[in-house]
Amino acid sequence: MSEFKQTFNSSLGKKLIMALTGLFLCTFLIVHVGGNLLLFKCDDGFAFNSYANFLTHFPPIEVIAYVLYFFIVLHSVYALVLTIKNRRARPVGYAVQTKSPTSWSSKNMGLLGSILLLFIVIHMGDFWFTYKYKETLGFKEYRTNLATNVTTVSDYKPEVATFERSISTENNVEIVRVKDLHSRIQWSFSHLWYVVFYVIAMVAVSFHLLHGFQSAFKTLGWVHKKYDGIVSFIGTWLFAVIIPLLFAAMPIYYYYLTLVK
């Protein structure tokens, strides 16, 4: 076995991979929630559809996206390997166990992670896969009068099947034609069960990161009186409260819109 393999096959090597991939996924969430705040803009999805178009047509983002998918797989596979090893380390369990002063989330990372993996598969199948590989998604045409800055929207039927997007300016009117992911989101979030599923998944994100973010720093050995407080503050408030709340607000907001319509 090469020395490199030996490092990453050791117990601490596996934990290092869990910590680093986990932290990468955490930073992704910041970008993801930031971009998706465009969903709260009442502009018939102009900003959001343009943003989705940008993400899928900007090469550096596409490269990072594949790194991200790879890390999700790596994080899950290593979690599975570690869990199996941990189970083997105690073949016979205890008959009685008292409540330990440890946090619930730290003891249920596997359960929470499994919910999240299921969520990621459904979530990507519903939006990412539909956007990239399915022809069911329509197009929207946004016409902005550059003088008055008023935007009108209409459906657009592409003339060629390979059409992806176009931006042009005619007579002081900017015409943007992009794939309409926004209406797919409106449709998905008009179903109550789907909204409930998303909210449950965001609760899982919250508890997973409540332990996960801080645990990653401990695993890396980055523990210091100077920044322990900051790590715990960010792990609790940003990753376990603000980000899951913002994400959960999106399906709830869209479901509310279908109710008041």
Partner: protein, 263 residues
């Protein structure tokens, strides 16, 4: 807290040897003084078993003053019983109430096979220690006192880690049966001190490798270990071990490179 003598029901794990399956057997412990230690209570029960020509309950013990790390009972769902920061031998029967049922189990870990009843074979810890938990002292003239300077905080921290008695309560309490609290305390008590520096990087690698070979689980930073540790060893030790391990594995190369030094 009970005043007079107590009558208790014990549910004790009985297992003939490593190979055979074990089971719980219920015993009555009657007329137990609240001032007895938990082990003395078991001594009383064992005496009555011997008088009845029955096989006494096998359990580990040695110093009975909380410093040897031999006693290892999982009492009512917690290593060393309900109190914090003490070993089983320091636990007194006044911590229980009259008529209570007490469940006594051995440490449960694949790396600690059961020898008999409540006694487990913890030589896995010895092998981790032997892999690098020492400093190589070259004998010679007696050095001057205080010729090696050690800051007070470093000495205190190293001594905190060194208080680990290797009882294995950390492994017993950990949901993953991980030995990282023990291993990290043994690694970093030496890694902190100047005497431990020459072997610092090879030590952490050797001891972690041995720990992996013994079949312990992996730490999830849950902290059950530090909550039950009779010597209150903290999770900080694990982070310090991780830091040293990654430094050693990823950023330090300890071998002589060819080509130089021919002049």
């Amino acid at each position: 807290m009970s005043q007079g003598n107590m009558n208790l029901t014990l549910k004790v794990w009985r297992q003939k040897n490593t190979q055979t399956a074990g089971k719980f057997v219920t015993y009555k412990a009657e007329g137990i003084s609240p001032d007895m230690s938990f082990l003395e209570m078991l001594d009383v029960v064992n005496e009555s078993l011997i008088k009845k020509q029955e096989d006494p309950i096998h359990f580990d013990h040695d110093s009975r003053e909380g410093i040897c790390g031999m006693c290892s009972l999982y009492i009512n769902g917690r290593p060393h019983g309900p109190k914090r920061a003490i070993t089983t031998c320091q636990l007194h029967m006044r911590s229980f109430s009259d008529g209570e049922t007490i469940t006594i189990e051995p440490w449960r870990s694949a790396a600690f096979p059961i020898v008999k009843d409540l006694a487990t074979d913890r030589s896995a810890f010895d092998r981790i220690q032997q892999a690098g938990g020492f400093i190589s002292v070259n004998t010679g003239g007696v050095p001057d006192a205080n010729s090696t300077l050690i800051p007070k905080v470093i000495a205190d921290e190293a001594f905190n880690s060194a208080t680990c008695i290797g009882c294995g309560a950390c492994v017993a309490a950990c949901k993953n049966a991980s030995a990282m609290l023990f291993t990290s305390a043994k690694i970093t008590q030496l890694g902190l001190l100047p005497q431990g520096q020459p072997e610092r990087w090879s030590r952490v690698q050797a001891m972690v490798n041995q720990m992996d070979e013994e079949g312990f689980g992996n730490c999830t930073n849950t902290g059950a270990c530090e909550a039950v540790c009779p010597k209150e060893i903290t999770l900080m030790n694990i982070s310090r071990m991780n830091n040293d391990f990654f430094s050693a594995e990823l950023f330090r190369e300890e071998h002589t490179h060819d080509g130089g030094g021919n002049g």
